[in-house]
């Protein structure tokens, strides 16, 4: 890769108080690329996404987005630079309706109601079940619908890079298939760059072209999706398969 990637992370280290969970992580995501971050529980995947979204402040290392060093700026600014997190466990605004949740996604946008309406129509077209329930309180949706609402809310922020954390968590396989299909469609239609975190290797690599494998906070392997899937060592050692 000769040209500057969309996102470049160098030597990222993150600690919760005394406990360090990321040790010198390097990774890159190119324009329009879908990249997976996989690994077992406690490997540091969610921590990585939170650091990228500004929800955690790194102890060391650099985060470069579109050629600009954005290390350590707060979460509210991350959205404005185009990095949008769809958090683990959805974290919807339970007391707000589906529609209000989606509009909260557009909270930081400056490009006018016309563009926001267009994106809203697009989100409702992607997730038809949400269109039917736009007035319903988000806390009363099923798990799958909540995940759709969370992805929709993320899309409403008009991301340049979408961070998807544990898309499949706690959902039935049928729903996961549906979500994988929609994420693939989002990528195809908008050419959106996506960095996704998954415990389920098959789900992750069904969407991503490339992957990184994390183990206890260190990068241990990276490569094309099919290479990683075929790698017996990866499957056995890091993913318990």
């Amino acid at each position: 890769m000769v040209s500057e990637p969309l996102l470049r992370v160098e030597g990222l280290e993150v600690a919760y108080g005394e406990v360090q969970v990321l040790w010198g992580l390097d990774l890159a995501v190119a324009e329009q690329e879908v990249v997976a971050l996989v690994g077992s529980n406690g490997a540091g995947k969610t921590t990585t996404l939170k650091a990228l979204a500004g929800a955690l402040r790194p102890r060391a290392g650099r985060i470069v987005f579109e050629g600009r060093d954005i290390t350590g700026r707060p979460a509210a600014d991350a959205v404005r630079t185009g990095i949008v997190l769809v958090p683990e466990g959805r974290q919807l605004f339970a007391g707000m309706s589906v529609h209000e949740n989606l509009m909260m996604g557009a909270y930081a946008r400056q490009d006018g109601m016309g563009a926001i309406r267009q994106d809203l129509d697009w989100v409702y077209e992607l997730f038809r079940e949400l269109a039917k329930k736009r007035g319903q309180l988000a806390g009363t949706l099923s798990g799958g619908e909540q995940q759709m609402c969370a992805i929709g809310r993320g899309l409403m922020a008009k991301p340049r890079l979408l961070l998807l954390d544990e898309l499949s968590l706690g959902l039935a396989p049928v729903i996961v298939d549906r979500l994988v299909e929609i994420v693939t469609r989002i990528h195809r239609e908008r050419g959106l760059a996506i960095l996704l975190v998954e415990q389920d290797l098959n789900v992750a690599l069904a969407m991503a072209g490339r992957g990184y494998v994390l183990e206890t906070g260190r990068l241990v392997r990276s490569g094309a999706a099919e290479e990683l899937l075929a790698d017996e060592a990866v499957r056995a050692a890091y993913l318990g398969m």
């Binding site: 979204a53 500004g54 929800a55 707060p74 979460a75 509210a76 991350a78 959205v79 404005r80 949008v84 997190l85 958090p87 974290q91 919807l92 605004f93 339970a94 007391g95 707000m96 209000e100 509009m103 909260m104 996604g105 909270y107 930081a108 809310r153 922020a157």
Partner: protein, 331 residues
Amino acid sequence: MNGSSMGRRGAGLILGAVVLAALVLPPFYLSGYWVRVITGLLMYGALASAINIMVGLAGYPALGNIVFFGTGAYTVAVLMVKADTPFFLALAVAGVVAAVYAALLGAAVLRLRGAYFSIATIGINHATSELVTNLDGLTGGGRGTIVPFFPGSIEAERMFFYFLMLALMLLATGTVYLISRNRLGYGLRAIKADEQAASVMGVNTTRYKVLAWTISAGLTGLVGGAYAYWLAFLEPPYVFDIVMSVKVYIMAILGGAGTVIGPVVGAFFLELLSELIWGRFLEAHMLVLGIVVVLVVLFVPRGFVDLAGRLARALAGGSASRRAEGVRSDG
């Protein structure tokens, strides 16, 4: 649809006129005792609306919010006693002082959440009360201080404080209305629902929380300043009274935290109850307050406004299903 929305607007106008008349007319007809009682209701309505900005909109249990009441009260007292400041100027300064105090504290304390934030506000209230008590030369300390009396007849005084508290209540409630309908209000609701999600959606949570607390404190400080002039005698335990703070908090919850009118309804209800019934239970009124709190939490956790809404929907739903049955039996 046009007809019904116009009908609704007409009904709204009539309701508004009735409410306005009900608020403006009492001091012209009622006895001095009742005017004083209602002035107290209006004051608690203002305080409950002010705390609602933190508790209802932002979801931060500012249990010690009474600190800004005391701060406002003492600002007015000190300015009027020591500097011969005219009342309205002193009142304006009281609002500003309380707001600035909250802004300075907020940067540190609003990092805490839930019960921790609550405890911190109670601590701040105690510390401020101690400070005022020990600044003897300025505040009169533990002996208290006498604020200049209202220069006019008893009737004029009664009118003055009635309409002053009414104006402050309308200001506080109007502020809640405006906030809940603009960008700040949406940001605060998001913070209340999930602070981390709000921040990753682009809400500058620290700035919004500090702003909300500053506004809440400014309003509370204004009411405290008005109270100082009304009461004409101040002592730290009167105006930094945590029991009063808890009462205001309960009023907001009881009426409906986060709604515009709920806290005012809760304030009127609880104060009127206290005036009518607790006057006869002087020994046990804290017991009654405690029982009311337990009953509220058990039976109307979302407040009167929500309860009224649910009842209205249930009644409307009931009559609609009866109509539907009627149609079926006719067919």
